[in-house]
Symmetry: none
Subunit: 356 residues, 2 copies
């Protein structure tokens, strides 16, 4: 079925419409199609598509160009699809409402309605942000078409509770394996149980204390978690391997390389395989473009704890911040929701910034 | 192709012939057919078939009746089919040689040649011992035709290295779950990591000391092992569930129910689901029939640690032991083999017991 998006609907209604087009990572096709159809009808935009990633640009010859970017995928559903309004129609619950269909709705509203913003604007809608970095649509675009991302400043409409969030933490995933020796469980003392051995890895994780460094005036908060564990051969076999996958979220005062070294040292007793590793980004709020944006939308900037594609822009030399209506604390939880007033407020702030 | 078995061949040669008729669990038809054809030609036996399970009985009106039982299936091949003799023709390698075509060869030799044993004998050849209990031919026969299994004593010709092995340990599998709370790993302190929590279960397993009770004069050795572990939602989510599957091998002084209670108490802090539970069997070597058998074949009986169908006979109130020429330690391994002299010796011992 082809979905039709009405970009004249208000941003909360558009958020609900976007949420109700399922787009778990890898399955964004129908939503990308709907966004493409809606944007190509807007006369002041030049639309380019790469896979399930869309770029819509104004071409007004302004001195400054800014990028407004958001991902269109969500984490898997958890009995929270489709979306549901509360009776007052002030709170919308559902997968992706905060992270980040509400941000995408704001992008689409601005893209459709602002024919002559004070700066040229590049709107980016990309896929596969919630999965491995090599599938990330913004990452792929930064490799295939970096010119499409050119700009003086970027805003990612990731959930930030309507506050400007500077920088982001890095994220590293590693697989740590314990090796044992198989045996029949009837004579288990002939073997060495690799699952039992993984208990030591879990002990390290349980005893771990997070660093909370202050970087460029903002306080970060690290995290180290097992995100997967697997082991076992058969119901009557002492298993000879168990793999614990950990996710380390590291503050932007630590490089990718330093993060890897830290994890290898912490788990020096076992073979460690680095699965992926994305750097953080320092907040960089001292840069001119970022400071003027923060002044325009108001409030006190804070540190971004999650990893976001702010780091991708940092890599391209483009100052970037997170600013979106969603609430990051409840992203990826079954109860994920967004406040309709926050969506309207974010749209209004950005509209003001692109007008005055 | 119809296979023909020559029951006048010596037991090692008959073992090779039996091994070379493939009979992985569920595919025992051709071997059952061959055994049926061979046994129905023996005038002093009454043969009954149920599926791929065969029962051959003498009907001499003796005061005592004993059961000699063996399964005709094997585990899947592992590049070890058909069988192969070493150059001296003393060692036969191949799938099922130890577990337990050599035992079946001894049964067939005795069945064919002993027209007037000192006790009536019921020879049972059954299918599907290596798979789930509800497919087990002996189990099914115990439900459909318990009269066919009647007897004062039973010998299972399972691999026991030519030693009388008494009783068997029970086996229980249980799934133990930890429950946490999902959160984004960027803000892991908002959640509770269920994989980290499983560390406490693994600590209990690592600290566990096996009981080694002496039951009816034989020492058993319990085991408690994680045989599987799984948990994890996505690479950036604090997981809310982790399941550890454990296999408890318990000595026969503990009932199924007591084993379950023990496991539930040991892991009282978590929900425990019992996946399966098969009772052990006391060695029962003090029973008259068993004692006379042990005396006749000689050697020092030892405890059976693995689970075997001895427990099935125990359930029917029939004392039973394992006694066979195969080697249990190398059963189910690619290098499975049997020693020709052990086959001949086992046949001779049983013949003596049934003669004197």
């Amino acid at each position: 079925m082809d979905h039709e998006l009405d970009l004249r609907a208000d941003a909360p209604a558009l958020t609900a419409a976007l949420t109700d087009i399922a787009s778990v990572s890898g399955e964004e096709g129908p939503l990308a199609d709907a966004i493409e159809r809606a944007l190509t009808r807007v006369p002041h935009l030049v639309v380019t598509r790469r896979g399930n990633t869309l770029v819509a640009r104004t071409a007004l010859g302004r001195e400054e160009r800014v990028v407004l970017a958001g991902h269109i995928d969500t984490v898997p559903h958890a009995a929270n699809f489709p979306s549901r309004w509360n009776s007052e129609r002030t709170v919308l619950t559902g997968v992706g409402t905060s992270d980040m269909k509400s941000g995408v709705a704001v992008q689409l509203r601005l893209a459709a309605s602002m024919a002559a913003p004070n700066r040229d604007v590049t709107y980016v809608f990309y896929d596969c942000e919630e999965v491995a970095v090599e599938r990330n649509g913004l990452y792929k675009l930064s490799r295939s078409d970096p010119d499409l991302l050119r700009g003086d400043f970027a805003v990612l409409l990731e959930p930030s509770g309507g506050v400007v969030e500077g920088g982001c933490q890095g994220t590293l995933r590693a697989a740590i394996a314990t090796i044992g020796k198989r045996a029949h469980t009837a004579r288990s003392w002939m073997g060495r149980n690799a699952i039992h051995a993984a208990g030591e890895i879990l002990e390290i994780l349980r005893a771990w204390t997070p660093r909370k460094p202050v970087v460029d005036g903002l306080e970060y908060h690290e995290g180290l978690n097992a995100v997967a564990i697997s082991g076992g051969v058969a119901g009557n076999v002492v298993p000879d391997e168990c793999v614990v996958t950990v996710n380390y979220r590291f503050a932007p005062d630590r490089s990718e390389r330093a993060a890897e070294e830290y994890i290898r040292e912490l788990f020096a007793a076992w073979p460690v395989e680095i699965l992926d590793n994305a750097p953080g980004a320092r907040p960089g709020l001292s840069a001119l473009a970022a400071a003027s944006f923060a002044a325009a939308v108001g409030g006190t900037p804070r540190a971004k704890l999650g990893w976001t594609d702010v780091a991708r822009f940092a890599e391209l030399g483009i100052p970037a911040v997170n600013y979106g209506p969603g609430i990051s604390e409840i992203a990826h939880t079954p109860g994920e929701y967004v406040d309709a007033r926050a969506i309207t407020a974010a749209e209004q702030s950005l509209r003001t910034w692109l007008t005055l």
